[in-house]
């Protein structure tokens, strides 16, 4: 009882109450943004959601339309980017985890991969502009896909390495003891054991690039029409959202919100699937 009235203890308790109160407030603040952003997005986006969004192309200013060509462009470039980036990423991750776990090259590449993982994506756009758009003389879907692939690679490298490292060494030793060469051990045993994790990495990479705008602005550019020609400028959802949201036309702004909702649902859906894949594993 004497302790309760001691001013020193009372002060410490008060400071503790204030600090924990601040921690509660900070968490509410952080989660509040998530709720608010998603809430506004659903409210603004659902209104514009209709069949026309998926069946009509982006409209000229002042008239109604859909996002069909943008969606198709986004899918085409994402698929190509994953097709280019995933094999390179998985192979590089394999080297880091299986062959050169402790060698110098791996240490350097691991560091560089981490830098690439958080490098500003607009710089990647500039790079691809320099090596593809400028020499070819025109913007193209290929350039956009390459830019996205460069973003896919570090994500896949990182998850592949992490997941292969989780495979117990006893499995590797068992394979070696029956005379299986290393490559066959990796492909038949290590990959199989780490499959869920590697797939997670690919899904996360897709989630990451499906919202990327900056690297597409001056690689794939944009296009108002239906086109699957990847050797020509190609529309994509994020770039269309960027263009439409900054325009003064109400129809365009509405479509931008709808597009934003579509992207967010895709990204969140992919991350949740990816998470549940690894959660079941562990």
């Amino acid at each position: 009882m004497a302790t309760a009235s001691n001013p020193l203890y009372a002060g410490r308790r008060r400071r503790n109450t204030v600090a924990t109160g601040l921690a509660y407030a900070a968490t509410a603040f952080g989660l509040g943004w998530l709720v608010m952003i998603l809430g506004v997005l659903i409210y603004e986006g659902i209104g514009g959601l209709s069949l026309a969004v998926f069946t009509e192309n982006t409209p000229p200013p002042g008239s109604a339309g859909g996002l069909l060509n943008a969606i198709a462009g986004s899918i085409a470039m994402t698929v190509l980017a994953v097709a280019i980036g995933t094999p390179i990423g998985i192979l590089a991750g394999t080297y880091l985890a299986e062959y050169g776990r402790h060698d110098k090259l791996s240490t350097v590449v691991r560091f560089i991969n981490d830098i690439l993982l958080s490098a500003p994506s607009i710089v990647i756009g500039l790079f691809v502009y320099e090596i593809m758009v400028a020499p070819m003389g025109h913007f193209s879907g290929y350039a956009g896909a390459v830019a996205l692939a460069i973003i896919v690679i570090p994500v896949v490298v990182r998850t592949t390495e992490d997941m292969l490292r989780l495979v117990p060494d006893t499995l590797r030793e068992a394979a070696a003891s029956i005379g299986l060469p290393r490559a066959h051990m990796i492909v038949r045993i290590a990959y199989r054991a780490a499959r869920a994790g590697i797939v997670t990495g690919i899904l996360l990479a897709i989630a990451r690039i499906s919202g990327e705008t900056a690297p597409l602005l001056f690689t794939a550019l944009n296009n108002q029409f239906w086109s699957l020609d990847m050797n020509a400028p190609m529309p994509s959802l994020p770039v269309v959202i960027f263009q439409f949201a900054l325009s003064p036309y109400e129809e365009w702004q509405k479509l931008a919100w709808t597009g934003a909702l579509l992207i967010t649902v895709t990204v969140l859906g992919l991350s949740i699937i990816a998470r549940s894949l690894t959660a079941r594993k562990s």
Binding site: N16, A25, I37, V40, I122, L126, A183, G211, A214, L246
Partner: protein, 330 residues
């Protein structure tokens, strides 16, 4: 005896030959696979060197034309082909600074909540929610900032700031001018919301790594939860937290779309954080496709190079700090 043995070898000759062929094939595919993975690793290495090289080559015309004065010149005039990087660099640093001032204390407090205060069943949902916040593409933050946050700040927050600090010497110039809604404060605020999850996630990871005995010992001495956090957890994890903060800073510096929507794209250095400005990434995003002439393009690529060098240094420091923490834990 010898005949039997000879017979046996004779019998298995064909088998041995096919076995040797099989082994040879296995060895060859083994070698090929190894080389393939090595090539992929070298490709990742080449990617980064390629990016740096391409940026340097692209920026040669601008560097030749303007020299080192490029980074301290404020003029940005495409018509007369006079370019200086001061305004974008200034804008990048100011918006990132605002973001860190808001996000660092809040991120650390959220991590404190998750690791020390939160009931166990609530930990995972909150951690997942924070990570979802990290996964939302930046263009979503941008469109939300433009249509929701900027008007709100313009109507309610900025007039209040202007009135409050009008007569405070020193601070009055910081909150000067008309409330546009868009501007450096708004951009910094959006960046804060974007980097918050990164700082929270890394802080939580390093706080979790503090050995329980250390905390229990402090609790045993009669420390309050806050005292344990402040005097045991934070000192123990300092390097990791700084690493996480630097990682968040790296993101904030390079973030493009969210900022482009709300910065106002004005190549001007203003003391007031309410004024519109520009950042390196926003300038490139806004102007690159419209840039006519080699010098204009080259000036923008030089901006990209500067941005890349700044973020590279920040991220390298972040990785180094986190790596040191990892080794220390071992």
């Amino acid at each position: 005896m010898s005949e039997v043995a000879l017979n046996e070898t004779n019998l298995s000759t064909s088998e041995a030959v096919s076995r040797a062929a099989l082994l040879k094939r296995l060895r060859r595919t083994d070698q090929a696979f190894r080389l393939l993975t090595r090539a992929a690793v070298l490709a990742v290495l080449g990617l980064l060197s390629g990016v740096i090289l391409a940026l340097i080559i692209g920026s040669v015309p601008a560097i030749e034309a303007f020299g080192p004065g490029f980074v301290v010149t404020e003029v940005w005039n495409p018509v007369t082909e006079q370019f200086g990087a001061l305004a974008p660099i200034y804008g990048t640093l100011v918006t990132s600074f605002i973001a860190m001032v808001i996000a660092v204390p809040i991120g650390i407090m959220i991590a404190f909540f998750i690791t020390e205060l939160c009931p166990l069943w609530l930990r995972r949902p909150i951690a997942i929610a924070i990570e979802l916040l990290a996964g939302i593409p930046s263009i979503i933050y941008g469109i939300w900032g433009l249509f929701v946050l900027a008007p709100f700040l313009q109507k309610h927050v900025q007039p209040f700031l202007i009135d409050t600090f009008e007569n405070v010497p020193g601070l009055s110039s910081l909150f000067e001018g008309p409330p546009y809604g868009i501007g450096m404060l708004t951009a910094g605020f959006i960046l804060a919301i974007m980097v918050l999850p990164f700082i929270t996630a890394i802080s939580r990871d390093v706080f979790d790594a503090v050995p329980a005995v250390l905390k229990e010992a402090a609790y045993g001495l009669g420390c309050t939860t806050w005292e344990v956090f402040k005097h045991v957890v934070l000192p123990f994890t300092r390097i990791g937290v700084i690493g996480g903060v630097m990682l968040g800073l790296g993101r904030a510096l390079g973030e493009t779309m969210a900022v482009t929507f709300v910065i106002g794209n004005a190549h001007k250095v203003s003391a007031s954080i309410l004024a519109p400005g520009t950042t390196i990434s926003a300038s490139i995003a806004n102007e690159f496709t419209e840039a006519v002439g080699d010098l204009y393009t080259s000036a923008l690529i030089t901006l990209g190079l500067i941005l890349f060098v700044i973020t590279f240094i920040v991220l390298a420091i972040a990785r180094y700090m986190l790596l040191r923490l990892q080794q220390q834990g071992r």
